[in-house]
């Protein structure tokens, strides 16, 4: 660790207790509290969300994200879910082993009766738990922030299904037929929302976002979070938004308004 010179201080206070765990905990606390951490003269890490590690402080040019406006999302409308199923060749039936790359969730505050319905999918986390736990490196995060399963490497261990707090991953337990050429999927692999990576690369919107627009709700904004001129970045700077389970510190790319 290059920041050893600064982080040695806690051990001195402990009087050479030689408890690595205690030290580590203190270090973590220290690191968590710091907004700006000086690694070496002239090199400062700001928030991890803004600066790419090892990039010399350069911001990643692209990080794709979504802003979902729960105020605009209509209860009972499942246009985004159906569009996802159609585009990616998933079944419409809610069978026990049918995949749900995106699903509608309704939350209600029992005390006030306040209720909101909104879609939840893979949150494409910056510090994705699925990537962390994957034993083969099949779960990975692309430079543009999209989290994918490399099914060529996936061994079907399902650690990612367990690790994801958003329940965004699912497992293909049976043979699949009639796949779409742009969405290969097969038995024995984990899968999840791909943010319609092929469409995005072709300059199109993800299927769910396009469907929401077609349905006239305009409840979803897609774009590059790192481009201040993009619609999503502008909107995020204007309205109060949050991420689901922000306390976990996974840094989701999917932001919500009105929940």
């Amino acid at each position: 660790m290059s920041d050893g010179s600064q982080t040695m201080e806690p051990r001195d206070e402990e009087g050479g207790g030689h408890e690595p765990d205690a030290l580590r905990r203190k270090l973590l606390k220290l690191a968590g509290a710091a907004v700006a951490l000086t690694l070496a003269p002239g090199v400062t890490v700001l928030a991890r969300d803004l600066v790419v590690k090892g990039s010399g402080g350069r911001k990643a040019p692209v990080r794709y994200g979504l802003l979902i406006d729960a105020n605009a999302c209509k209860t009972g409308c499942d246009a985004c879910v159906r569009a996802c199923q159609d585009y990616n060749g998933l079944s419409h039936d809610p069978g026990p082993d049918n995949a749900q790359w995106i699903r509608k969730v309704t939350i209600t505050n029992p005390k006030t009766g306040f209720s909101r319905s909104f879609p939840v999918m893979c949150q494409h986390c910056e510090n994705a738990a699925c990537v962390d736990v994957c034993p083969t490196g099949a779960s990975f995060r692309r430079p543009d922030g999209i989290v994918l399963v490399d099914k060529h490497r996936c061994i079907g261990c399902r650690y990612c299904l367990m690790a994801c707090p958003y329940k965004a991953r699912s497992f293909v337990a049976r043979n699949v037929s009639d796949q779409k050429p742009w969405a290969p999927r097969g038995k024995g692999t984990a899968e999840g929302c791909t943010m319609c990576v092929e469409r995005v690369e072709a300059g199109k919107l993800p299927a769910c976002v396009a469907a929401c627009e077609r349905a006239g709700h305009k409840g979803m904004v897609f774009g590059n979070l790192h481009d201040p001129k993009s619609a999503i970045a502008k909107r995020l700077s204007e309205v109060a938004t949050t991420t689901i389970r922000a306390d976990l510190g996974l840094g989701p790319s999917v932001h919500y308004r009105g929940i």
Partner: protein, 154 residues
């Protein structure tokens, strides 16, 4: 004497076994490779030897490195080499006797690409034409000349 007799017996057994082997070999259908219209993206002999390496390298590029403008895409292979029935329906390339399956059956190599990947093109628009647009970026020297002869003889 007994040694010589033993040797003759061994030879006889070997000859008999090779006959059985040959007969068995005859039962596996010789690959029938329908040539795609237009150019192959590589020379046939080269493609026959290296297609699995190309696909393996390219799948890393496409999935992990966001390099989707590659020429050797499985979807392009399928788009060019898929056959149609008389009624115009696509026949999966991994169906018995089809482009991929006939060779793989002959050499006894399991073909698992299509456990996950689509073995037919998605829509009628995306066929040989689309795939060839990609193929035309290949230097002429490397390009094969499919569609002209029975290039499928191993």
């Amino acid at each position: 004497m007994r040694v010589r007799a033993g040797l003759w017996a061994v030879l006889a057994v070997v000859v008999a076994l090779s006959g059985v082997w040959a007969a068995h070999r005859g039962r596996v259908a010789f690959p029938v490779i329908a040539m795609a219209p237009g150019h192959c993206i590589l020379k046939t002999a080269e493609m026959r030897r290296t297609h699995m390496m190309l696909l393996r390298a390219v799948r890393e590029d496409i999935v992990r490195r966001d390099a989707r403008d590659t020429r050797f895409r499985l979807t392009h292979c399928v788009a060019c080499h898929v056959e149609r029935t008389a009624s115009g329906r696509f026949v999966p390339v991994n169906a018995p006797g089809q482009f991929c399956a006939s060779c793989h059956a002959y050499v006894g190599v399991r073909l698992d690409c299509f456990d996950c990947h689509a073995a037919v093109p998605a829509r009628k628009g995306f066929t040989a034409g689309t795939a060839l647009q990609a193929a035309f970026r290949i230097p002429r020297a490397l390009r094969g000349s499919g569609g002209q002869g029975p290039g499928g003889q191993p």
